[in-house]
């Protein structure tokens, strides 16, 4: 298990790159890399050489998140102005513009079957679920107001603490997890549209979380407390904690084979973790500023034996790695 740097594309954007996602391969083309930057553009790249495919404009303020539909044809991007723009990956035609004023939109993820788009709802302390056919708001999952850790002082700001940052669907699409600024991780039963419980362990923002692609119970969370936690969401128990980053862990993704984690951190490194050994096995230092997002390429497409991994950073660059 290891990753090799293939390419570091300097100045991929005019400013820091905050978001990365892979649009899966379709019949007509291979997988595309989608990046979003504070320079207000979304860019698409193809191949191992990261040839620029297209630059999407239209966002105001920095692009916070990009997400791709599992079919590979649709993608969504959102920016600090809180609009979610859904567009056709191949034509850049705007499919929908989603807005839930007055709250923000933060990170997003499509349902594994593609029926829904979950958007972290920022200050609304909720996750919004949009129907990907009608582009109507289907569901709103509220994050519980602080319960256990309530003390008088923090309750005033508890709402700020419940700013929802990230969402993740599990393998089966029946569980949705979201995380907040105060470290709460909430697990929802999607079918019954209700909160199952919250997971304990973080007291600082959890900016990224991801379910295992091979075990629908396993969730990984990345937090400003420099730790990555591994939870069993059904039993509410923490299975393991990974430490080693020197600063905030900003992003986490699991390899398609479910055997490795990759994390990006403010400490400018990308780390590869062996889940069997539960230890960091590699540290990549391609970037010179915080690594805001990491993403494994989903399997599929032609001739794709080996895995690909991309990381983006405030240093304006994109790095591509081979995962074997």
């Amino acid at each position: 298990m290891k990753i090799n740097s293939l390419k570091n594309l300097a100045n991929a954007h005019a400013d820091g790159v905050w978001a990365v996602a892979w649009a899966p391969a379709t019949q007509s083309r291979g997988a595309l890399l989608i990046t979003g930057s504070v320079d207000e553009t979304v860019k698409l790249w193809k191949g191992d050489e990261l040839e620029p495919e297209r630059t999407n404009t239209g966002h105001a303020l920095g692009v916070v998140a990009v997400a791709a539909h599992p079919a590979g044809t649709l993608a969504a991007s959102t920016s600090l102005d809180s609009y979610v723009r859904v567009f056709d990956v191949d034509t850049n035609a705007t499919v929908a513009t989603l807005e839930t004023p007055p709250s923000e939109a933060w990170l997003m993820q499509f349902h594994p079957k593609g029926e829904l788009l979950a958007v972290a709802g920022g200050g609304s302390a909720s996750v919004k679920l949009w129907n990907t056919n009608t582009w109507q708001l289907e569901q709103t999952f509220m994050v519980p107001k602080s319960e256990v850790t309530t003390d008088n002082k923090s309750s005033e700001k508890s709402n700020a603490g419940k700013f929802v940052l990230a969402v993740a669907w599990n393998l089966d699409g029946n569980r949705l997890a979201c995380s907040t600024m105060d470290g709460t991780v909430a697990i929802f039963d999607v079918a019954r549209a209700k909160l199952l419980h919250t997971l304990e362990g973080h007291s600082m923002p959890v900016r990224s979380l991801v379910f295992s692609p091979i075990d629908s119970r396993i969730l990984y969370t990345a937090s400003d407390d420099m730790h990555i936690h591994m939870y069993d969401v059904e039993s509410r128990s923490m299975i393991s904690a990974f430490s080693g980053h020197a600063s905030w862990v900003l992003s986490v993704d699991v390899s398609p084979d479910g055997a490795a984690l990759v994390t990006g951190s403010s400490d400018r490194t990308v780390r590869l973790w062996d889940l069997k050994m539960r230890a960091a096995v590699q540290t990549m230092t391609d970037h010179t500023d915080q690594v805001w997002s990491v993403a494994f390429r989903p399997p599929g497409g032609d001739g794709v034996r080996v895995g690909r991994l991309a990381s983006v950073s405030d240093d304006k660059s994109i790095s591509l790695y081979e995962y074997t």
Binding site: V38, A60, L80, N159, L165, M181, S203, H227, D267, A279
Partner: protein
Amino acid sequence: MACVYIPVQNTSEEVRVALEQLPKDATDILDILKAEQAPLNLWLTFAREYFKQSKFTEFLQILEEGSSPEIDEYYSDVKYDRIAILNALGAYYTNLGKLESKQREKDEHFIRATQYYNKASRIDQDEPSTWVGKGQLLVAKGELEQAYEVFKIVLDGQPDNVPALLGQACVQFNRGRFQEALNLYKRTLQVHPGCPASVRLGLGLCRFRLGQFQKARQAFLRVLQLDPHNVEALVALGVMDINTTEVDAVHQGMEKMRAAFEIYPYCPMALNHLANHYFFTGQHYMVEQLTEAALAATDHVLMKAQAYYNFARSYHTKGDYEMAARYYRASTSELKTPRDFILPYYGLGQVHLKLGDWKTALANFEKVLDAHPDNCETLKAMGHIFVQQGRTEKALDNFKRATKLNQRDVDAWLEMGELLVLSDFGEALEAFKMALSLLKKNGEVIPLGLLNNIGVLHFERGELELARQAYKEALGKGIWLDFSEGTRSAVSGVPNEENQLFSSLEEEGVLIEVPAEKVTLLFNLARLHEQLHETGKATVLYQLILFKHPKYVDALLRLAAMAHARNNISTSLDLVSKALAINDKYLEGLSVRGNLELKADDWLKAKDTLKSILQITDGKDNYATLALGNWNYYAAVRGEKKDPKLEATHLEKARELYQKVLVQKPNNMYAANGLGVVLAEKGLFDVAKDIFTQVQEAAAGNKAVDMPDVWINLAHVYLAQGQFALAIKMYQNCLRRFYYNTDPQILLYLARTHYEAEQWQECKQVLLDAIHLAPSNYTLRFDAAIAMQKFSTATLKKTKRSAEEVRLAVAELKNALRLFNQLAGVRGQHVHGFDEKKLDLHVDYCKHLLDAAKVHLEAAEREEQQVRQKQEVSRQLAMAEDARRKAEEERKIQMERRQRDEEHRIVLEQEERLQQTMATWNRKRFEVEDNDGDNNGANEKKERRKEKRKRKKEKKSRPQYSDEEDAQVEEEVEDVRPETPEDDAQDALAAAFGDSDEEAVPEPRLKKARRRQALSDSDEEGQMSPHRSPPSDVEPVAEVRRRHSPSRSRLRKRQLSESESE
């Protein structure tokens, strides 16, 4: 059986006397000798026989009878025998005198000896044996020069006189002329090959003194061959054996000493050596016995000094330092100069060192060093004393010299390392490593402490991997290895999960042991993992320590600190309480608790906790003093009560406390930083800047210290003084260096600086980054909106701008509007505490501005169109022109030539005029300079006045801003106060200081329990900067002013109040 025959008078018969059976009473013999008128030489024979049998009274009786006047008369013609008897007596008394230790008796013996020799001389003054006797007497009396003369007289007459030769050799030997002595002994042997063994002894001693040890040894061996009981030879050989310092030889030497002792128990040298031997075998009783015997047997100073030394040494080892000192001193008092025998001085030094009398010890060691400047042990001992006296530099010098002289001295390296830790980690590390490699080479046990020290030093230098290796080596095998290497993983980073892991492991039969001597190492290893951000491993190791050593509070505290770092305050407090339950006077624990309470906004509790520390330590705990200083500072700038007096009191108190710390520890960076803050707070920016700069330099020089606060404070000062570029650089460096660019608060400061510098776009960019980091901080969005609004306003204000610029301005305005709207939208949730009215105002303003901008945009676009048209026209014109130009070109060339001539003429004229006016110029220049001086003065005055005003304003305005947001905003909107940029900066500074100093938390403990203050009240403060920029910058947009009356009225008010304040 030897017999002597006394001839019977007048017969041929003889009386046979067996020498072994001499009558007990010498009178019997005397009667026979007298009766038979035996020849005098028989008398001598009998006397000698008695002497040999140690019957000295009988010996004397016979000789004295033999030298009586009666006999003299009777045997008056037997000169030689009479002289021989007298000389024998003289020699006897000489010997007595030599052996006698009491001066008076000694003298008496010598006098009698002299009398006998003189009597002998009177019989025949040329008798050589008498001269020889006299010479020996002089040698015994120590009058070597005279002895030399006397022997010379004999030798001049009889060059082969053996006794004279020997006597002369002895004299030469004692005069230190060993080669001459050797020659004399050689001659003796030539003359008299069968001479007694002792002659060869002299030979050996000369060789020995001349350093010809091999030949000396041969000589001594020959002596022993001839006389197996020769003590001197035995001792000499023994000494030579011992001096080889080879184990076997020393052993043989000791055997010889013992043999010598058995033959003759009164030889002081043998006694001393034996004592020495028993000292090393630890038989102190024997040492005392032998030493006493030696002291009784000799009055030779060196022998005595050695004997006393042996005594002292014996007491020394037994731990009786007083007695040891007494005997050492006795030993030294025997000596004329320390150079003769240095050891007792060293002993004295050691004993005084033990007794704590450094001065005396030092004096003695100095004497030793005087005689042996390169003695490592002494250098080390002195170094040790210097350390105790606090003379670090001198101590270091000594150790450095010692290690240079003897590179293999482990102790010196170790002690030097310890010393260097105070000053230079790098060199200390080198010293320790040297000691380590020496120990390893010698195959000795390596002390854990040494490895630990090496580890810690590597740790301090940031060489974490090397530190890990050192700890690992020291710790050896154990359960910790599994955790540290990650082969056995513990579940979680949950810090207060108790012991279950280990209990269950024990149940599984895994041996869990933490030896007491390894706890510290384990703790350090855990610290190392912490530093490597491997908190999981660190946690397990701390828990392992606590599992076996539940009272190891430091581990609890580290767990608390780790929980704190993860913002898990309640767990952290629990752990600290646990530590304090074990030891309620645990200062570190109390300090952490105070800090945590402060963080939890529990002001009064925090103050109590900190004060309790000062109670315990009698007010001497710098940390607590410093923390209280900070406490007072926060209280001052927090301004819960709007009492400026109270604020001043708090500030003053803070200053006092900081200064108190600085008095005790002048290089406490945190206290200096605090002082700088207070001074800046009072407006003394230049002084504050000096302090901050110094602290920053000091902090940069120390790798173990991270002090971002001082960078921030320095930047604040730059900001306050309007040095925006410097401030920006400082903030940026600080962010990157200490925070991995993750601190939204500093980003806010940075944005603020850009704002002050009117760099709106940069300001916005920074704020966007900050929003991305802290999306739930709505003030950042507000600020970003303000920045965009400002940008648009500024762009539209410009007289010359492109349509593109206007378009951008409009786009930004739209973004601003959206943000304001969004903020207005979330107002119901009370998440940020903005004033609704104010938000509305901004929204309205942006809308109006947008409308206005439309016109601007149209105008700009029209303009652009016109410009484009104009360009088209001019292009066509240019083409026409071109044609004409070509036609004219030739004519032009001609014209130019003529012109050039003309110009030349003019230049000449001008030069002439120039020279004429030269003189007047100088005068004029002076005038100009005078004027400049005046201007400068005026400027200065103005500036000073401004500064005064600044300060006044600061006071006026602070309570206003430190209020709750709602009130604050309202006030601002209602009766807009005069706002000058300086004023803003001041407040920004106040705000900025307000929280960055929370982190200015003190030093030594910091390493152990570094506490990071999250910026709990950053929201309030963040807002200050945007609030300062109300939507009143409307002047340039005429339409707005007309349509939007509220802002206009505000505008007028503002102008009014401004003129008032002027």
